[in-house]
Symmetry: C2
């Protein structure tokens, strides 16, 4: 029987996860039975959205962690899949996956790199598209602020805003990220939130206010954005990464929410499954934007399943530009 390594969570973190909370376990994988298939994973997706699940009870201890992955079918006794198929699934953090076919999705990458299906054409891209266009109800030419704009979701969101002829403001946590946003993605105003004064810098950048704030960070970012919101502004809440690694997952205190009242601001949390009925629209848009070069991306690739835990910790500390992936050998 082939051997496979998988990543287990050994304790529910409260605060920043530590490397010892992730353990790599070797297991033996039986041959596929009837209606089963065996997948060798090629890439695992590392997402901020994984973090809350480690603490809120969704991720059980001492089993292979959930998470997005793409792999190749290496043996199949399932009528729906054949050897060589490239498949995407959410049963993530393991080298091999013995599946009954449920939750698998065959990918036909064509001319596209397969990793694109893990970001721009995958869950992160769909999240950005739906959050900005559906939840955020973006209109052409509006004023748009995206926090964590050099992240996987943020970098798609801010490029969609550019494509919609919006004035774009992006925040990021390093000069390298800011340079990418400004010089390659064409973001109109870029803020390094680890330097200067976010509140003041956002006031300067948002010269015509903010119609849509695509929220990835929370805490101080939201506190700074609310006083800048224009009447009838929208805040689609995709994530609040600044809070996930605090005790009790609490953010820094937000003190400016009363700005919502007279400006009639709407803030709404969303998850990507809210947009399932719009998937065809998303894929049509994104394939067009990738083909004509208007949608750019970067990947931060970590090698080896033994580094998956550290990849997630690194993501929480902002070590990625664009999409964070773990590549399996």
């Amino acid at each position: 029987m082939p051997k496979s390594r998988e990543v287990h969570l050994t304790a529910h973190p409260d605060g920043m996860p530590t490397p010892d909370q992730f353990k790599v376990i070797e297991t033996e994988i039986p041959d596929p039975g009837e209606d089963q298939l065996l997948i060798r994973n090629n890439y695992m997706s590392v997402d901020p959205a994984m973090r809350p699940r480690l603490s809120n009870g969704q991720q059980p201890l001492n089993v292979a962690m959930g998470g997005g992955a793409i792999g190749t079918v290496i043996a199949s006794r399932h009528a729906g899949f054949k050897e060589g198929d490239i498949v995407q699934h959410q049963a993530g953090f393991r080298e091999m996956y013995l599946s009954n076919g449920k939750g698998l999705h065959i990918i036909e990458p064509g001319d596209l790199p397969v990793t694109v299906f893990m970001h721009t054409l995958g869950g992160t891209g769909f999240t950005a598209w739906g959050g900005l266009l559906v939840t955020g109800a973006l209109q052409k030419g509006e004023q748009v602020f995206v926090s964590a704009a050099a992240g996987a979701v943020g970098s798609v969101a801010i490029q969609i805003a550019k494509i919609y002829d919006c004035y774009t403001i992006g925040s990021a946590g390093s000069d390298e990220k800011c340079a990418w946003l400004r010089d390659e993605l064409g973001v109109d105003a870029v803020i390094n939130y680890r330097e200067g004064n976010l509140r003041r810098d956002l006031k300067t950048a948002a010269i015509n206010g903010i119609d849509v704030y695509f929220e990835n960070v929370g805490g101080e970012h939201l506190d700074a954005a609310l006083p800048r919101m224009n009447p009838l502004g929208r805040i689609p809440v995709c994530g609040m990464i600044s809070s996930y690694n605090n005790p009790g997952a609490r953010s820094e205190g937000v003190t400016t929410l009363s700005n919502m009242i007279y400006n009639r601001i709407t803030m709404r949390g969303f998850v990507v499954t809210d947009f399932q009925d719009r998937r065809d629209d998303f894929e049509r848009d994104m394939r067009e934007w990738l083909a004509d070069g208007r949608m750019k991306y970067r990947e931060t690739i970590i090698e080896g399943i033994e580094n998956a835990g550290n990849a997630l910790i690194g993501l929480m500390q902002g070590e990625n530009i664009g999409k964070m992936l773990v590549k399996l050998s």
Copy 2:
């Protein structure tokens, strides 16, 4: 020429207003010219929503303060109004008002006390109705939390929730207010937020979570409510009185906003003018509820224009039960 007293704001407060920031000035009122009428005000409305306008530049200094009022026409050279008409207007804090007829609304109270047009059938009632039913999209039988539930808006909102067969939780700041909510309005669970631990008490009260949180207070109240919100919950934001009298109108820090994400919560600020196209529906509902006794109210009446500033300060400190009014002699 008749003499009239009016209340001027002498400085824009930052923090709790002080009595010296309100000055009563005596002026002489000319006789009505052509197309003018003279009103003697009977009641002035004291509302939390007035407070932000004192600091945000909307209320100029050293002129009669704006605010809702009801008065009687004592002389008219305007074709639309005759002596004895009862009129409602927003040019508020003065004993007499020489008007050109703009912004005036004739009231025909019939069997109802005229003050009802300043609360349940007036702006506060319409605010509660629209915030709960339109912005909050209340459904029958939901779980509803109303903060400042013994206030003018809150007490209407929580009674509408009762009429919609909802489980109701109300917070208030004194035992007397809590007793009114529990014993006379039939609120299911009552929390005195000045005693005990709001977060813990709300968790106990919200045994089936919260579908709609009608937000009047902000800060600690919102911090406690967010973790209790059910999936697809709504938070119509009517006011955040806890912040208005802090420096910079900042609330206590809200740290639990990340609960909005997975539960896909919508928080939306609103003002009563958002619902203008529904005024007939509101008036039909409220007249029915007043007539059949399902809508109760209380009034806290302060006498004399010289006490108007203190009435507003008292409102900010929770001295009212139900609607705060100033009665003019």
